[in-house]
Symmetry: C2
Subunit: 137 residues, 2 copies
DNA sequence: CAGTATCCCCCCAGATACTG
DNA sequence: CAGTATCTGGGGGGATACTG
């Protein structure tokens, strides 16, 4: 009998006297990665590129303000997670292309669902923020 | 004639000689907030609470490892964005309850869509990471 | 062209102490 | 009980210079 975590909305938790206690778990880490400064922009670019594929310079030129260093780190992390693959062509000068994997592409609908909620609700969020900040000072 | 941003997947961009250039925009900021260390855990707790409503101590006791300071900051930010409301009862000792707003509750399906994708794909992500790290050293 | 390699700064989160 | 106030360390991210 293998012990199985109890789940609420798919999230593991333990029972306590004062109710369920969630344990920090996977979704946070992945969401935090995707929510970082550049990852969504890289994914968006690849999402609309033909063949879900772009070279390094195209990403760099296409994303306003990103530095070479941060783009490198961002695509490395995405590659590490298996969301994209790196194609290296040993020419001179070298050429590198990044392409969404099947898993990377499978993430797009969920991402789109989330971002569309944000876009729909952004006006109200902005309004609420303004009112909140107004009330503070 | 009001100029309207061109959009790809709802995201504003500008045309350049080398293709579309996305501008950093709203979804990143909101996604970054939601993806931070504690926000999803707070939202999850309220999501399953009766009346989508819990008091400060219940959240604190229910979320393993969160400090008083970080819980305060997290609920403040959520309140500022209009995703929850703070109910203050001037008793002694004081009592404070946090409740999801209609907008806050409306976010749950999108969030669930995303986290379920993560849970489904987590095994492969973990496997890919392990293989990647293996290949590095 | 597509990266490393450094340096550095700022800010976030944790720890701790105090309060209405 | 539900917060603030303050200090501190570590890490993320920018700037810059160098390289196969």
């Amino acid at each position: 009998m293998i012990p199985v975590d109890k789940l609420i909305h798919g999230r593991p938790y333990e029972e306590t006297n004062e109710g369920p206690r969630f344990r920090p778990c996977v979704p946070n880490g992945v969401l935090a990665r995707l929510g970082d400064k550049w990852t969504i922009l890289v994914m968006s670019h690849l999402a609309v590129a033909s063949g879900h594929r772009l070279r390094f310079s195209a990403l760099k030129n296409g994303i306003e303000g990103i530095t070479q260093r941060m783009l490198t780190l961002t695509v490395r992390n995405l590659e590490r997670d298996g969301l994209l693959v790196r194609h290296y062509f040993p020419e001179v000068p070298p050429r590198v292309e990044y392409e969404l994997t099947e898993m990377g592409a499978s993430m797009l609908p969920a991402l789109e669902g989330f971002t569309s909620w944000i876009r729909e609700n952004w006006p109200e969020i902005a309004k609420t923020r303004a009112a909140y900040d107004e009330a503070q000072q």
